[in-house]
Point group: C2
Chain length 256, copies 2
């Protein structure tokens, strides 16, 4: 396992592009899926941005985050309508032409009935020069990668297919694992000092404390995340002992 | 209504602070609530950032967005544990001391049994100098405002109470309203050219096109958002006519 644990932790950023999430019309369903999958691959998400369909904002954001994180994953804005401007913005961000992609163009032209491969659909076959397709087994707007920026659909079912196609092409870091313990008879304010001490003894772990309310009972869950399962188990054992010291009743895992 | 419609549109930014959303452990439940409420108040959300419990990231992000947007709303990181660092980061961002708040301190000291108002809970009574409390009718960690930055809890039930207390103190812009039409027998790619023309005739509206899939039927919903209901209704009437021209069956509103 030495080779694996020696890998640097990769970082990911998600950019959700679309007015519908910002306006509250739509509940985002992509962030959590991507965060879990990328964490499992050892590429934890370190930041998410949700931005509107505005050219300047998209271009500026993409250029900022592609420099700051190892990989960037965008969702939304690659359909055929006037508010779908992600693809041309990626071209602008990279300073390359936005031009017909011969493979996609030919495939979509063959797919649609004569006359239906119109100007709007042709936009979906237009990509930044150098784009590498993220295929999805269908002829709908394909996703693509430009360098470390991976451009996917906003519709969750399509995004997930695209991510499944993309994932094997991505580098893999050390998977993030988690261990947890909770108690229905503990409060964060009583635990905090002891938790601070435990966190200090495990600097490579991320120890999270999450109060919860279930059936009118207030409890707290402690989650240790990191890349070393033995350390995480050891830290959670210490938290379990802390719960007991304080008169609490620790229960394995997170509240069901 | 002239006075109201003459108001400049205010802008809002949401900053979600917490590793639990970034790791995919928790599905965020605050963004949509805030986006809808702020839109109704005429302060549409123009950007969301989800960032980790990391001091440098929080301080840098807060300073960036408080300069770029009229109002900033943060959720998360104001509890008693080691990973709750939002309050001290806000003080650092504003360059002011982080110090005991006499009102909160006295209230919490009176609330807890002797000995239970410990160092961890005292941190919740410690605030940036100049903070204005966002009361929530309880003695749990209060939220606060520093200038145009409004700091709230991450637990949705508590955040909502805080926002209800905060909202009447905020300026009000022109409420964002929306009108919509949808069809189960239309595709975005056939509508796109006509929609682009309609959007061009209504530059003050935001015309969104949203494909959907229900019961194995693919349809599309068109939503016009703006501050002028008459214009929005007029634009949606044009979209309805476009649907009919293309042989579709327009239905009022969004798909149920």
């Amino acid at each position: 396992m030495l080779a694996v644990t020696a890998l640097r932790n990769l970082t990911a950023c998600i950019v959700v592009i679309g007015n519908e999430v910002l306006s509250g019309r739509t509940q985002d369903a992509n962030i959590r899926f991507l965060a879990q999958r990328l964490g499992d691959m050892g590429m934890p998400v370190r930041e998410v941005r949700i931005i509107p369909d505005v050219t300047d904002t998209i271009v500026r954001t993409i250029n900022e985050v592609r420099a700051a994180f190892d990989h960037v994953f965008t969702t939304g804005g690659i359909g055929p309508t006037h508010d779908d401007i992600t693809s041309e913005c990626i071209a602008a961000a990279f300073g390359v032409p936005w031009e017909p992609h011969p493979v996609v163009w030919a495939r979509m032209e063959a797919h649609y009935p004569p006359g239906s491969f119109n100007a709007a659909r042709q936009r979906m076959a237009t990509m930044p020069r150098g784009a590498v397709l993220i295929d999805n087994g269908q002829t709908i707007a394909p996703g693509f990668s430009m360098g470390n920026v991976h451009v996917m659909a906003g519709v969750p079912a399509i995004m997930r297919v695209m991510f499944d196609m993309l994932a094997p092409t991505l580098p893999v870091g050390t998977p993030v694992i988690s261990r947890s313990v909770h108690a229905r008879d503990m409060r964060e304010g009583d635990l905090a000092a002891g938790l601070t001490d435990i966190q200090a003894r495990y600097p490579t772990l991320d120890l999270g404390s999450y109060p919860y309310y279930r059936d009118n009972v207030a409890g707290v869950a402690i989650v240790a995340k990191g890349t070393d399962a033995v350390l995480a188990e050891s830290a959670i054992a210490e938290v379990t002992a802390l719960f007991k010291d304080l008169g609490g009743t620790p229960l394995d895992g997170e509240p069901g």
